[in-house]
Amino acid sequence: MEEIDFLRLLEEERKAEEIVRRAEKEARRMIDSAKEMARRIIEEALKINEEDIAKEEERRARAEIAKLRDELLREVEFLRKMIEENKQKILEHLEKMVLGLGD
């Protein structure tokens, strides 16, 4: 009867271990590289341009002031117009109040 070549089998076992070891090494490399990439992703995300934010906020604040100025001016003009249009009526009413003639 022919004998089994155990040496060859051992050699095959060694090669198999080598295949798994290489895969494990590659897996570790992949994970390390992913961790490095993650670190860079976070680092990049935190690089914000404060100057741009400041400019935008300044623009917003100026716009708010301009809006307030417009609103107040509009309000004064509206008041002026309403009073001008109703001046006689207002004065007559106030005059009556002062003179005790009703209202």
Binding site: M1, L79, M97, L99
Partner: protein, 211 residues
């Protein structure tokens, strides 16, 4: 089966098993990589959002201080303009009333009658002094009996009234004072204008809205 063939079959099985194991190891690593990157992206987004919020907050606080003064100035300017409008109304009102007072027209006389009546009704004393501008005293003497009669009907008793000079820079109207000095009712046009001044905005708006 020959021993050689057995070794061949076993060798192939060993290699196949190793390759499958290696494939599994790589697949697991790929999944882990995906999770690491995905988590990093989420975390990065959150941190970026937080940092932007913080920086924005700091800048806004700084700007708020700078712009608060401008806002105050604008509001001050607005109030000045608004006051100017109402002061013009008051000035015109004063001129109109002064003119009526000087001309002593029908409206003024009717008003004076009402002011005296109102003042008399607002003092409890029956012995009073009417302080009236010298220029109005002649008219007051004419209208007074009628006013006293009206007041008598309202109060249910007679009043003893003395007329005296209203001194001071008044446009017109009346001050009633009880002889004992305990009661005093200022119904001068000037004091009534002061009262109106306090509520002018409300009064003007109500007139405007009453179309």
């Amino acid at each position: 089966m020959k021993a050689k063939d057995v070794v061949q079959v076993l060798s192939e099985e060993i290699r196949k098993a190793a390759e499958e194991e290696a494939k599994k190891v790589i697949e697991n690593a790929r999944r882990e990589v995906e999770v690491i990157i995905e988590n990093a992206k989420r975390r990065a987004e959150e941190l970026r959002r937080q940092k932007i919020a913080q920086v924005t907050k700091e800048i806004r606080q700084k700007l708020l201080k700078e712009y608060a003064q401008i806002k105050i100035e604008l509001k001050k300017e607005y109030l000045l303009k608004k006051n100017e409008i109402f002061n013009n109304i008051l000035r015109e009102l004063r001129e109109r009333i002064q003119k009526r007072s000087l001309e002593r027209d029908e409206v003024y006389i009717k008003g004076l009658r009402n002011l005296i009546e109102e003042a008399l009704l607002n003092v409890d004393s029956d012995d009073v002094i009417l302080y009236i501008l010298p220029k109005d005293q002649e008219i007051v003497r004419e209208i007074l009996p009628n006013v006293i009669e009206k007041v008598r009907k309202r109060k249910g008793r007679d009043m003893k009234i003395k007329i005296a000079n209203l001194s001071g820079n008044y446009i017109g109207g009346v001050i009633v004072q009880s002889v004992d000095g305990r009661e005093y009712y200022n119904n001068t046009l000037d004091s009534r204008m002061k009262l109106i001044e306090e509520d002018l905005f409300k009064i003007v708006m109500s007139v405007i809205q009453k179309k």
